[in-house]
């Protein structure tokens, strides 16, 4: 735990809190969007908001891979199980996400489908090796962090000549989503959401580097600070954002220098480029169709593409009526603004995806902070 605890030290937190209180201009608001669910989780788990002055607030962005996956893709995964009797390997977070009719992988499993929770792509490959008579599909989701391991798995499957392994690819791209949020009318024209600055993702940036954010900082005149996932990282980055805003700067700064470089991990990028290509468009829950925002498996690896290997028939997906996940993901609404929040939608019985993962804004509000957020009360004045 050394090297981790030192990023959670209370004395340093208090010193940073004092600096933030000193430097934040009481005459203005600082609304800072953490794009990444990892930051949302850290903010709630460590109570970082408590250490902020009232005019510094966090807006929770769409960077939870589970939360942004549209219902149609969950339905698709369930159809793979029902119509092709595959073994579906999935990361644990996905199992409880509700699809159409509040069906989920967990419910499909209870009804007899073969769903296996895995911790890595290696587990999925092993399951394929151990079950040569069965088709094994890996439910690949996540941002740039989880994409390279999927690429490795596909390459390994080819090298091993595995005929019964394929990938249901749902990998999405961070820069496209940030671009989409900044371009949205709520942010750009109507001013209903003001986002003054961004925390850049930690793990994603380790792969893609800090360079991709330079365009946003310039184009949209918003500062970006790449921040680590530890609570002190979040506080230090908050201070850096406040300083940029006070000085009228909008640059990409890197707080997470112990991991992130400007160019990122070139080897991982090359692997991803070898196996994946851009989808022309992909649907995100909350953001709708976003052009060039996701990856699919290249034609030269088509044999490992579950979407090509298995035809499924899909009914049109239906969002739960009243669920505000789409607006919450864009920062337009807060979880407590949703009529379903804590009422019929709780982590035990999630209606929308934001209530499932601990990185989801609704689950974090419910589990860590609901006593401070009576309905209708804003954490940012």
């Amino acid at each position: 735990m050394r090297y981790v605890e030192e990023f959670r030290r209370r004395d340093l937190a208090q010193r940073l809190a004092a600096a933030i209180a000193r430097e934040a201009d009481p005459a203005r608001q600082y609304r800072l969007m953490e794009f990444c669910g990892g930051h949302t989780h850290a903010i709630f788990r460590y109570g970082v908001q408590d250490l902020m002055p009232p005019n510094v607030g966090f807006v929770h962005g769409p960077g939870c891979p589970v939360c942004v996956l549209p219902i149609a893709r969950i339905d698709h995964a369930i159809r793979l199980l029902e119509q092709h009797q595959v073994i579906l390997c999935s990361y644990g977070d996905m199992l409880r996400v509700p699809g159409s009719g509040r069906h989920s992988l967990l419910k499909a499993k209870a009804a007899g489908a073969d769903v296996r929770m895995v911790y890595s792509t290696r587990d999925a490959l092993n399951i394929a090796r151990q079950n040569p008579q069965r088709q094994v599909v890996f439910f690949a989701i996540g941002f740039e962090t989880t994409t390279p391991p999927t690429a490795v798995a596909i390459r390994q499957a080819r090298e091993a000549g595995l005929k019964n392994f394929s990938v249901f690819c749902n990998h999405v791209l961070t820069p496209a989503a940030i671009h989409n949020i900044l371009e949205s009318p709520e942010v750009r024209e109507m001013g209903t959401v003001s986002i003054d600055g961004f925390f850049g993702p930690s793990h994603v940036s380790a792969v893609i580097g800090s360079r991709p954010y330079e365009f946003f900082a310039e184009e949209f005149q918003r500062p970006v600070v790449i921040a680590g996932f530890e609570p002190l990282d979040v506080m230090q980055s908050t201070l850096m954002l406040i300083r940029q805003l006070n000085e009228g700067r909008h640059e990409v700064e890197n707080e997470y220098t112990r991991v992130v470089s400007r160019d990122g991990n070139l080897k991982a990028q090359a692997l991803v480029a070898e196996v994946f290509e851009l989808r022309r468009r992909f649907e995100w829950r909350g953001l709708g169709e976003v052009p060039y925002s996701a990856l699919r498996i290249k034609r030269c690896y088509a044999e490992f593409d579950a979407e090509r290997r298995f035809a499924v028939t899909l009914a049109p997906a239906a969002e739960v009526r009243g669920c505000e996940c789409p607006r919450i993901l864009r920062g337009v609404k807060k979880p407590v603004d949703c009529r379903l929040f804590g009422n019929v939608c709780t982590p035990d019985n999630p209606m929308g995806s934001c209530m499932v993962s601990s990185e989801g804004a609704c689950a974090a509000y419910w589990s860590y902070g609901r006593f401070r957020q009576p309905a209708g009360e804003e954490s940012v004045a």
């Binding site: 460590y46 895995v118 911790y119 982590p347 035990d348 419910w366 006593f371």
Partner: protein, 349 residues
């Protein structure tokens, strides 16, 4: 042939043999399994009566009874196995009333094909745990289910005990101002289990804390008979146990994260797996809620006991109509410690 000398044609093959359907059929094979495996290990005067029930004189006073089904996977884990766990788990449930546990019963549901060697290992471990705890398994039952209809072996144990006079311990007795004590490090059992799960194997020196806590409880009850609540934070961990007590008593709780003892190796494993030690299962720990003035004395007594060396006061009971459990984080903020939702699932990134 002398039936007295040779009741069974062949000895049970405890090295290579497997449980088959006949071992649960009520016939000679079952009698042999009971005699050569269960009786041999559990041996005591009540089982030797060979009746369908154990017969004993009832102690005077208030009795308690508790039952617990054990379906753990894997069956063997660092620091214990399903057998020792089945003994400790039920003894602890009985002891959390302040009672002295007297007897256990054990029901086995065994899957066809289960190796007799594994069964013997489990039964021997169970017998050892019962002997060490001084709580005999006085009656039992064996059933065999077809292959594929069980997961190796399931064990249900029931325990009875007697509560010393003047002791009233119950989940609804927590009052604002009470102290919350914890008997030791959190999360050892859950992490030990996870480290030996098939698709997760990782190296750790952590072993399960599985232990019978009635000795510790006896010492505590003697020092402070007015203890309000006792509970062992098993499934769902400390967080779930405190939420249960808060709801039963209609009070809130305020924890200090820095006071909660956790082994650094458990912290590290939890960090890696994206789990929270507050929600990880324990099998040899207890939570005690007592009046503020009893806390110091109890803490001293707990720390004198081998199972309470790392005991700590971790928080206090507060007035809160919403019955929320809150925690002041080590970082200096505060957060809610909610009920566990569903299973604790690892995060993706």
């Amino acid at each position: 042939m002398n039936a007295e000398v040779k009741a069974f044609a062949q000895r049970l093959d405890l090295k290579r043999g497997r449980v088959d359907m006949s071992h649960g059929s009520g016939g000679r094979a079952m009698a042999q399994l009971i005699e050569q495996l269960f009786l041999r290990h559990f041996d005591n005067e009540w089982l030797r009566q060979a009746n369908d029930q154990a017969s004993f004189a009832v102690a005077a006073g208030r009795m308690v009874m508790s039952t617990d089904g054990h379906v753990i996977s894997p069956l063997f884990f660092p620091g214990g196995d399903i057998g020792s766990l089945a003994v400790h788990g039920t003894i602890n449930d009985v002891a959390m009333s302040g009672a002295r546990p007297l007897f256990l019963s054990a029901g086995f549901i065994i899957e066809e094909g289960f190796p007799l060697a594994d069964l013997e290992r489990i039964v021997a471990s169970m017998a050892r745990a019962a002997r060490e705890a001084g709580v005999p398994v006085a009656t039992g039952d064996t059933k065999v289910v077809e292959r594929g209809k069980g997961d190796g072996v399931f064990i249900t144990t029931t325990g009875i005990g007697v509560v010393p006079p003047g002791v009233t311990i119950s989940g609804e007795l927590a009052r604002p101002g009470d102290a919350i004590l914890l008997s030791g490090n959190l999360g050892d059992h859950g992490v030990a289990i996870m480290s030996s799960r098939e698709n997760l194997e990782f190296d750790t020196r952590i072993v399960s804390d599985s232990a019978a806590l009635h000795g510790l409880v006896a010492a505590m009850v003697e020092a402070a008979p007015g203890i309000h609540c006792l509970r062992d934070p098993t499934r769902g961990g400390l967080a779930t146990t405190l939420n249960e007590l808060a709801r039963q008593s209609g009070v809130g709780m305020k924890l200090q994260e820095t006071a909660i003892p956790i082994d650094p190796a458990v912290s590290a494993a939890s960090e890696l797996l994206g789990l929270d030690p507050l929600y990880i299962a324990n099998e040899g720990k207890l939570v005690c809620i007592c009046a503020g003035e009893d806390a110091g004395r109890l803490l001293h007594v707990m720390r004198q006991h081998p199972l309470g060396r790392r005991a700590a006061i971790v928080g206090e009971v507060i007035d809160d109509p919403h019955a929320l459990v809150q925690m002041e984080t080590a970082f200096g903020g505060s957060r809610i410690v909610d009920w566990l939702s569903g299973e604790q699932l690892p995060r993706i990134c």
